[in-house]
Structures are given as C-alpha cells and as structure tokens.
C-alpha cells in the first residue's frame, strides 16, 4: 500500500534523544528517591496535637476537613480532681451544680457527669457528641487540673497530607508524630 518511505535519519535521531532522555530521567529519579529514601522510615506519620501548646482557640471544631472534626476532647482521668464544681463541666456561674443543660459549658452536652463517692464526680466524654470546641478544655486548664485536653482521634482522622487545622492553629500545637505512637497524652499540667 502507500506506506510512505520512512525517512530513517530523523526517526533514529529522535529515538536516540528519547532513549537518552529516558536514561537521564531514570537516573535522576533513582538518585532523588535514593537521597530521600536514605533518610526515610518505613513508618508513616500522623498528625497530633501537643496538649501543652494548645491554646483552646476553638479552631479544631471548625477547620478540620471532616464535617465532624476528627479532634475530640479526651480525659486523663488520673489527673482529674473529680471535683464537684468542675470548671470544665459547669458554666462560670452555674445556677446549680446539676446536669441541667443551662449549667453546662459544653454546647453539645457531651460530658457525662456521674457521682462516684462523696464529694467526687467523674466526667466522661461522649465522643459521638463532642465537637472538639475546647470550651471544657479551657475551663479545666484555667481553673482546674487541666485533665481535659484535645487530641486527634485516629479512628476518625483521614490523615491528610497537610492537616487543615494545623495551619490555622494559633498555638503551633500540631505536629507529625510516628504512626506507632500517635497520641500525645497529658500526664502533668505544666507550662
């Protein structure tokens, strides 16, 4: 048929160039991957909040890429004073120390208060309800033992390459931590 005579010269020249480019690219890619891999770990990184740096600003409730923020309040029970007048649970000037909604600081009623023994009460977080607004954390840190604090919950977090809350965090409290130790739990209320 009318297959045009292939002009050999440009074809071979182009093939030659292409092969050269490919070899160069492979070498470059290999070198790059090598340099980066040299410092790399098999382990992945996840984001976490350093509770000592958290300023309780409220961004965590709204800035996560998830509609229901992956950040929740957690409670270090060993640090808790089990106070009757919990400043993380009650409004600053509560009408009464009861579980009535108007007395509570938490906008969603996510903290469950239960009587343990006189005069101690236990406070547990219902993660389904908590929106990570840090209101209770602020109350507890300011006037209490600081046993309430925020953490990214890794069963909810989708592990964004760049955490959307991290870049708006005024306390610079977000950092990458090894995936095998993905929490920065509080043990002391120190500054």
């Amino acid at each position: 048929m009318n297959e045009q005579p292939k002009s050999d010269r440009p074809t071979t020249r182009r093939t030659f160039l292409r092969n050269g480019a490919r070899i160069a690219a492979m070498t470059g890619l290999g070198a790059l991957a090598g340099v980066v891999a040299n410092r790399s770990t098999a382990e992945g990184w996840v984001w976490q909040i350093d509770p000592q740096k958290c300023l309780r600003c409220g961004n965590c409730a709204t800035k996560c890429v998830l509609e229901q923020s992956a950040v929740k309040c957690v409670h270090a029970f060993a640090m808790c004073g089990y106070c009757n007048l919990c400043t993380g649970y009650f409004e600053p000037e509560p009408n009464a120390l009861t579980t009535a909604a108007e007395n509570q600081l938490c906008p969603t009623g996510a903290i469950q208060r239960s009587f343990i023994e006189d005069p101690y009460y236990e406070y547990k977080i219902d993660e389904q309800l908590c929106i990570g607004c840090a209101k209770c954390v602020e109350g507890c840190s300011r006037f209490g033992n600081g046993s309430l604090f925020l953490q990214i919950r890794h069963d909810r977090c989708v592990h964004c390459n760049e955490c959307a809350i991290a870049r708006t965090c005024p306390g610079d409290a977000f950092r990458r931590v090894p995936a095998s130790q993905p929490y920065l739990l509080k043990t002391t209320h120190a500054h």
């Binding site: 045009q4 690219a25 770990t41 005024p170 993905p182």
Partner: protein
C-alpha cells in the same frame, strides 16, 4: 493582669490544683483513656501493592490486550480503592511535595510508601506512557466516568491552559519546600468528593470541576494536575507509545475525532520547501535565545515577590503582626485565635522573630526558583510551538495521551484484529475522500 500572672505561676507548678482522690471508700477504678490506633502498618504496604498491581495490569491492558473495557473496569476498581476507600490520601499527585520537603527540611522524613507512590507511576510512564492516568488514578477515573459530550478545546486555549499544571507544580513544590504547607493537596478539587465532605468553597470547586468535566474531558488532568505535568514529561520519553492501530495506519482518518482529550495528532503535511523553512528556523533561533532571558526575568520577579509571599506562612505572618503590635499596641478585646497567637508571641519574641527570618530566607530561595521555573516553562512552550514534528500516521501525542484506550476501536484495523470486521471490508485511504466524523 495580676490575676493571670498569679494563675501562671500557680499552674507552672506541676502540682495539681485539686489532688486526685484515692477513692478509699468505693475502690473506684479509673476509666482508661482510650487511644484508637491509626491505620495498621501493613495496610500501607497493601496500598503500594495495589498501586503496583494496578499499574502492571494497566500496562498490559493498554499495550497487550488493547481493551478499553478492561481499562474502564480497572479504573473503577482504582476509584473505589484509592478514591472512596482510601479517601484520596495517599496519592501520587501530592507526593512530590513530600519529596521536596524531605529534601529541604532535615526534621521531616518521607515514609517509604510515599516515595513508592511518587516514583512508580513515573517509572511506568517512562516506559509505557501514562498508564497511571488511564487505570490507576482515582481523580482521572472519576472525571473519565462523567464525560458526556466532550467538546473540542481550541488549540490556542489548549496550549495556553496546558502550561497551568507546570506552574501549579512549581508553586506547590516551592511552597512545600519552605515548609509552609501542601497547596496541591489543599486546593485539590476532587478529594472533597471522595470524602463526601470538605470546606464549602472546595465543595463548590469540586462541583464545578465535575460539571465542566461533562463537556471538557478530564479538565483537572489536562489543565491543573501537577503530577500530570511530571507524567507528561516522562511519557514524552516513553519507550513504547500508545498506538491507535494494532499494526499499520492506512490513513483512513476514522480515529481523528475519537479522542475526547484532544490528544490525537494528524500526520504532518508532506515535505516543506526549504525556502519556507529558513524564516522558521530563524524564529526558532530567536526563541531559543529568549529562554534564558525569560528564566532570568522570572527569577528576578520571583525574588521581588518573596517578602509579600512569605506572609502566607503563619509564623512569618505572626511575627509581622507582633512587630506591628509592638509599634502601635491595640487592645485585644475578645480572645480570637489571632489574638491568642499574639499572646503566645509575646512569651518568646526572639525565637519567633528568628524562625520568621529563617523562613523568609527560605522563601527568597523558593520564589527565585519558582520565578525561574515559570520563565522556563513559558520559554519551552514558545519553542515547542514552533517546532515541527514529522508524523506519517495518525497517532496520539505521547505526552497528552492518557492511554485511556478509547480510540483503539475507532481504527478499522483494530476491528479486524478483534474480529468485528471482515478484512475484506477494510476501508482504504483511496475510498475515503473526505474526513469521516467518528
């Protein structure tokens, strides 16, 4: 003020304000603070294995089996796995940012998985073209699904918009190199769909992209995807090209309109008189000389913009706000995240100002490089526009072709190969005088 001071000194003692009870009466057991684990380690190896497997299958489907249906089902699987199951994160598109951050920041190590996601699709592209785009990338798969009536984008617009991915790539890398963030991930217009979630603006952008995608094939891939820019470069040097026809092209022109992405190229018109070539050569010479000038100009402009751009970094921005506050103090009033940050700055201004100065230095270098890169991209585009490629057959452009395999069945030779057309009914170029719309 005094009260806060008192509080601060009080709380700086590690002693709790209210000693935890020992529950001598009831022997109450403290509940345990739960720590749900992050994803299991082996799952990330599964991700890499699925990536490698899908890439292999894609290459086989495109080059050996030549099956559009196969590519389609493979891309659906990838969409389900990498898109809706892995929620678009881990992804090759964002990986270049991790790589450059790993190079530029000593404290950041890139996980091996991310290196694999960065390198594997590129290596495959160097040999077999953009098999990743065809069958593995969830972004591509989603847009591919939604094509209803692809319109032809005019050549000038295609060329003009075609440089955006390269510029976005440079921007993303420059930004990531300063440690400020990953804009390629931040402004990804597809991921909110995988998550069925996201900030309002991004969801609107996602909807817009999908809507546009019904009439312009793969708009994100062609006009924004920064990883696509890398794949394009790699595919230009690919060893095996995607071929419309399984064997010979009879110039029947049936495939001319088969590609929804404008990647099909026509044979070049016969030979050109040398007389006509001379002015073209001269113009090319001038353009080649223009490239270094563009690079230098771009770098200069980039350097000038470094300081304003660096304010996008929260630390630099905070330092500037701190300095402004020192000059003319304003009362904080209600505590907002911004004022809280300012308060923090006042605790240790030296450290803040120092890290801000370091960051500005990094921004200066990054902006210089980015400006130069934009100049280079523009220059190379101009040069490439006036290059002639000698083509004897209809063939997909190596760089632009997503290897989706749609066009294969438009070729009568292919129909003969798979037995859908008797060889006797092959149209020859002689029998077709006018181009036929596919």
């Amino acid at each position: 003020m005094l009260a806060t001071l008192a509080l601060l000194t009080f709380s700086s003692l590690a002693e709790p304000r209210f000693p935890p009870p020992d529950f001598s009466e009831t022997n109450h057991q403290l509940p345990i603070t739960t720590t749900p684990a992050a994803r299991a380690e082996w799952l990330q190896y599964l991700d890499v294995a699925v990536l490698a497997g899908c890439l292999g299958v894609a290459v086989w489907l495109i080059h050996k089996h030549r099956s559009r249906r196969g590519v389609f089902w493979l891309s659906l699987c990838s969409l389900a796995y990498f898109g809706f199951w892995r929620k678009g994160c881990i992804c090759a598109i964002g990986a270049p940012q991790n790589i450059i951050l790993g190079l530029c920041e000593a404290g950041y190590t890139v996980p091996l998985t991310v290196i694999a996601f960065f390198a594997l699709p590129l290596i495959v592209a160097l040999f077999a073209g953009r098999a990743f785009c065809a069958g593995v990338c969830p972004h591509g798969a989603l847009q591919d699904l939604l094509i209803i009536k692809p319109l032809k984008v005019p050549a000038w617009l295609e060329h003009a918009l075609g440089i955006l991915p390269f510029i976005f790539l440079g921007f993303g890398l420059a930004f990531a190199a300063t440690g400020t963030g990953f804009p390629i991930c931040r402004y990804d217009p597809i991921v909110p769909i995988f998550r069925l979630n996201g900030p309002g603006l991004l969801i609107a952008l996602a909807a817009l992209t999908l809507l546009l995608g019904m009439f312009v094939g793969r708009p994100y891939c062609r006009f924004l995807c920064p990883y696509g820019a890398l794949l394009k470069l790699a595919a230009l040097a690919s060893k095996w090209r995607v071929r419309v026809t399984p064997d010979v092209c009879t110039q029947c022109q049936l495939c001319a309109n088969a590609c929804p992405f404008g990647a099909m190229r026509e044979p070049s018109p016969g030979t050109i008189a040398p007389k006509l070539l001379t002015p073209e050569r001269r113009r090319l010479g001038w353009l080649v000389l223009l490239v270094p000038a563009l690079i230098v100009g771009g770098a200069w402009l980039g350097g000038r913009l470094a300081v304003p751009v660096s304010r996008l970094n929260p630390t630099v921005e905070l330092a500037e706000r701190y300095l402004a506050q020192q000059k003319s103090p304003v009362n904080y009033g209600v505590m907002t995240p911004e004022t809280l940050a300012l308060q923090r700055a006042e605790h240790d201004p030296e450290a803040l100002l120092k890290s801000a100065a370091d960051l500005q230095q990094r921004f200066r270098r990054a902006c210089l490089a980015f400006g130069g890169w934009v100049g280079l991209v523009l220059g190379v585009k101009l040069v490439s526009l006036s290059l002639r490629t000698l083509r004897t057959d209809f063939e997909p452009d190596r760089g632009a072709c997503f290897a989706c395999a749609r066009c294969f069945r438009s070729c009568p030779q292919e129909l003969v190969r798979i037995g859908q057309l008797p060889a006797s009914e092959l149209p020859s170029s002689a029998s077709i005088a006018t181009p036929v719309k596919a």
